[in-house]
Amino acid sequence: MKVLSYDPGLCVGCYVCQDVCSETWHKVTDAEKSSIRIHQDDDGQLYAVYCVQCGECIAVCPTEALYRNKQGIVRIKAKLCVGCLSCVGFCPYGAMYYHRDLVEPFKCTACGVCVKECPADALAIVDVEEPRAPGLQV
């Protein structure tokens, strides 16, 4: 399946990915509406949080609003979603997001917009058999 890959060794922490993601999907520049978030740990090391399409949320969803499409991407059918946010609490990577302006949760769909805009080439869309935790998917 195609998933987003993030190389912390290349990331410069410019946060362009967050901006383009929220602009693309929510028409606003707001990191809290981005499906990829860049953070710094206590040692100053950058890391990213985004969906790796593992699909653990699908079984948790009580309304079958979450499903895996033909490309292997986990998507949300807004019409079926009752906004219970079970998937937000149960995502093993904290990569299903909630925002106060929105009733339904949102997540990375591996659309690749951030990959195109990343000035450090830290992001890529790659094909993997089994996704790992967010980070380099090799």
């Binding site: 079984a59 009580p62 009752v82 219970c84 937000v88 106060r100």
Partner: protein
């Protein structure tokens, strides 16, 4: 598409569904089946402030609907169903509960019974904070509340099945045009057993999208299903617009959502190490109760059994279909509403059918299992299925059957009296046949279905049984059968069962571990405080639409380091956030208790108004306080002998077992009376269990008709 049935409409009411604002629609629906009238009643700000919702709304509507002399089967008795302001939020686990109140055929006082399933929230989303049904239909009816169509109908339903799994499936097939219609539709039904017994339950459906079938949760306690059938109702149906995350229109959605996400994460991270509710539901309790000598065995004589493992969690983990989101309302990630799929019915009218069995839950396993000496999971499933579809409460059936079995083994009953049923402990086939007799309204099942209190009187009158012995071993109080915990060694839990409004149901207070295991309640004052706080706190869930389980069947990992771990302070704060976030009324944790006190005191006054509710109404059978028989004494002889020495200064070595039983009894009964005094004082009641006028004034429920009831007893 299946052929739709044409039903004869007896009455129709059209309306524009009120939108939900901050958890309320601002109106309740009144349906009278005697004259087929249907009206809307406004919900005042005072009603919201004083009685909150759920059980509070139910009691307040019932209070105004009945007379002092109303009996359970009088037309003016009502069934009121209400969720509460937080009912229907999807973000926090356990937020879809309904509370049902009525005058009970078992107790002749008010019963409240809480239940999952989708009916309460969908009723609200169809425009109604509560449904109040009064009157008695001349013929069999169903009541349909169709929110999207803005129409309510009372429809003739003679040629319609009555048992729940049949009518539930049939109505959904018949009334849903599309698959999506099924999602936002719920049915309330009882069954044939409910009409032949006094222990009828109500089944509330939810449509299980994964199984593509309706599931049923039970408002089990107190015989409301019997009232339902007495009113000739076969079903209630509600349809609503699609549920969305903001359908309840909270004042502060983010505050609600953040509390929900916190608990979802907690459950995700810790449930597997704590109660494993997601995999096995409440069945985890079976082995724990047996290990702590608290599992009812052979009519509560004993608290453990070596065969408990045969009906414990591991068995049900294999039988429950795993990996499904088994919440009884959207967003409940604690997901305890498990089911056994593809169960083939072995006996009775549905023999050979393949069905879904909802549960069993702990209470059912302990009640129809260990308490009856039945340690066969297949028999428990069979009884669970038939109790549900016949509309019979598994707790009253289990505790009642255990009583019958002890009477049988004591020689009070025999095959002649039971019509051939050899109702000895462990005889599952006889128990199942007894259940079928209740379904058919035949034979000894008709007598058994009257409940323990009436069986006692019947056995004394017709079989010459010793009334003292029956009163000692008949595990009922106020007329309601005990739920399934052995309270003998916990004075606080004896109060938790006895000093209740509706009867011995543990949803008011479960204090056994605090008291008996952890010894956190050493004094009468400590016990009284616990018997004030916990019943009030637990009452609050039923005012708002919440389930109790996500409060303490999952705990934050640092909970033990808090000042009061038994209260789960972090979760109390969640409830403060949820109530404030939904209603916009900023509250504190103390305010939650005050909300409950109003409703709880109204319910006590209600019992008094109906001719009960005084001190002696809180008496309990001695079996729940200590050993009735020599065998019971001997089963815990070291513990009891030690207590005689330590607490009473007696020398058990010089006493016969009969003398020891009698001495211990004097002590324990005196302790229970002292507990009553302490608890009544803490609750602001007189020594005769009557709420004082100043208590009613302090709570702001000193309405003239309420005060008039208590003044007669002051």
């Amino acid at each position: 598409m299946t052929q739709k049935t044409t039903r004869r409409v007896l009455a129709e009411f059209t309306y524009t569904p009120a939108s939900v604002e901050r958890g309320y629609t601002g109106q309740t629906l009144y349906v009278n089946l005697s004259d087929n009238s249907i009206t809307a009643k406004p919900v005042s700000e005072e009603m919201k402030e004083k009685f909150t919702g759920g059980r509070g709304f139910g009691l307040w509507l019932l209070w105004q609907g009945v007379r002092d002399s109303t009996q359970w089967n009088d037309p003016e008795n009502e069934i009121v169903i209400s969720t509460g302001p937080c009912g229907g939020i999807t973000q926090y686990p356990g937020a879809g509960k309904s509370l049902v109140v009525s005058i009970s055929p078992l107790t002749n006082v008010v019963i409240d019974s809480n239940v999952g399933g989708h009916f309460g929230p969908l009723l609200k989303f169809a425009g109604w904070d509560a449904l109040e049904i009064q009157g008695k239909a001349e013929q069999e009816v169903i009541v349909v509340i169709d929110g999207p169509a803005g129409k309510i109908t009372i429809e003739e339903a003679s040629n319609v099945p009555v048992d729940t799994h049949r009518i539930g499936h049939w109505l959904i097939e018949d009334m849903a045009e599309t698959e999506e219609d099924r999602y936002y539709m719920s049915v309330v039904s009882a069954g044939s057993g409910a009409e032949h017994t006094r222990m009828g339950c109500l089944n509330f459906s939810l449509y299980d999208r994964k199984r593509k079938a309706p599931r049923f949760k039970q408002a089990g306690r107190g015989g409301i299903g019997t009232v339902f059938r007495d009113k000739h109702i076969k079903a209630l149906v509600v349809k609503s617009e699609p549920v969305r995350g903001d359908s309840n229109h909270p004042a502060d959605p983010e505050r609600v959502s953040q509390a929900g996400i916190r608990l979802h994460k907690e459950i995700h991270d810790h449930d597997d190490q704590q109660c494993k509710m997601r995999k096995t539901g409440t069945t985890y309790l079976v082995q724990i109760m047996s290990d702590y000598d608290l599992l009812p065995v052979h009519n509560f004589r004993y608290g453990s059994h070596p065969k408990a493992a045969q009906i414990a969690r591991e068995v049900w983990e294999q039988r429950f279909t795993q990996g499904l989101p088994d919440g009884c309302w959207y967003g409940c990630t604690l997901a305890c509403a498990h089911a056994v799929d593809n169960y083939t019915v072995r006996t009775g009218p549905y023999k050979g059918e393949t069905v879904i069995v909802d549960g069993p839950e702990y209470e059912t396993i302990a009640g129809v299992g260990s308490n009856c000496g039945i340690f066969d999971p297949e028999a428990i499933l069979e009884i669970n299925f038939y109790c549900d579809t016949y509309g019979i409460d598994t707790i009253s059936f289990g505790t009642g059957t255990a009583f019958i079995m002890e009477c049988y083994e004591a020689g009070i009953l025999d095959k002649e009296k039971t019509g051939g049923l050899e109702l000895t402990f462990g005889n599952a086939d006889a128990a199942i046949e007894l259940l079928h007799q209740m379904g058919r309204g035949e034979g000894f099942g008709r007598i058994a279905g009257q409940g323990i209190r009436r069986m006692k009187a019947y056995f004394v009158e017709h079989y010459g049984a010793d009334p003292d012995f029956l009163n000692d071993i008949g595990m009922e109080a106020k007329g309601l059968e005990y739920s399934e915990y052995v309270s003998k060694e916990s004075l606080a839990q004896q109060g938790g069962y006895g000093l209740t409004n509706k009867g011995p149901q543990h949803d008011e207070a479960w204090l056994i571990f605090m008291d008996q295991v952890s010894n956190l309640l050493p004094t009468f004052e400590d016990k009284a405080e616990a018997l004030h706080y916990f019943p009030m706190f637990r009452t609050w869930f039923g005012l708002c639409g919440f389930c109790k389980l996500p409060w303490n069947d999952i705990q934050p990992p640092d909970n033990d380091q808090t000042d009061e771990p038994a209260k789960i302070p972090a979760h109390v704060q969640n409830y403060v956030d949820l109530f404030s976030g939904v209603t916009g009324r900023e509250v504190t944790s103390d305010d939650l208790i005050a909300m409950s006190e109003r409703v709880y005191n109204l319910q006590r006054v209600f019992n008094i108004r109906l001719g009960h509710g005084l001190r002696d109404h809180d008496d309990i059978p001695y079996r729940s306080m200590g050993p009735v028989t020599k065998e019971e004494y001997d089963s815990r002889v070291e513990r009891y002998d030690r207590q005689l020495r330590k607490l009473m200064g007696l020398n058990p070595a010089e006493m016969t077992t009969e003398e020891k039983v009698a001495a211990l009894r004097r002590y324990r009964e005196e302790q229970y009376e002292r507990l009553k005094d302490a608890v009544y004082e803490r609750r602001g009641w007189t020594r005769n269990a009557v709420p004082k006028v100043e208590t009613l004034q302090k709570l702001g429920i000193d309405y003239p008709d309420v005060v008039a009831v208590v003044k007669k007893h002051l």
